[in-house]
Symmetry: C2
Subunit: 81 residues, 2 copies
């Protein structure tokens, strides 16, 4: 079983990395780029034979407690199979 | 118009960040996690009025030349509207 956890800064939080990419792109002549925000994702593979329900619970807990910082970040979990 | 560019290490390339997350999770008791690989994504917003065709071309070029390092990374572009 595989899951993908997307982690991004909350929309109210400044994203300096994204702003740097945006201004670099403007410097390269891409003036049609209005905004860039960067995030990260984690492709998590669970051991074979993990019960589906437990896997879902674990991934949710891991996303909330380990992969994302809920103070400034939000996350979304997608189960791939 | 919005696009999301996913960038991840090629599957043949070692991912030390992902491995660190994986071993941290094992240390926390999550032994059902077999593998973790980390990637990043960029949410790109294009200026209003950008012709659709030009926007698509620009995003493809930006993904290939700026956001990803084609030697070790692969990318995928998703247009959100």
């Amino acid at each position: 079983m595989k899951a993908r956890v997307f982690v991004s800064l909350k929309s109210t939080v400044l994203d300096p990395q994204g702003q740097t990419v945006r201004s670099a792109l403007a410097g390269l002549g891409y003036h049609d780029i209005a905004d860039v925000r960067q995030g990260k994702f984690f492709d998590v593979t669970l051991a074979e034979g993990t019960p589906r329900e437990q896997a879902r619970r674990d991934i949710e807990t891991i996303a909330h407690e380990v992969l994302a910082n809920p103070v400034i970040e939000e996350y979304r979990v997608e189960f791939l199979d």
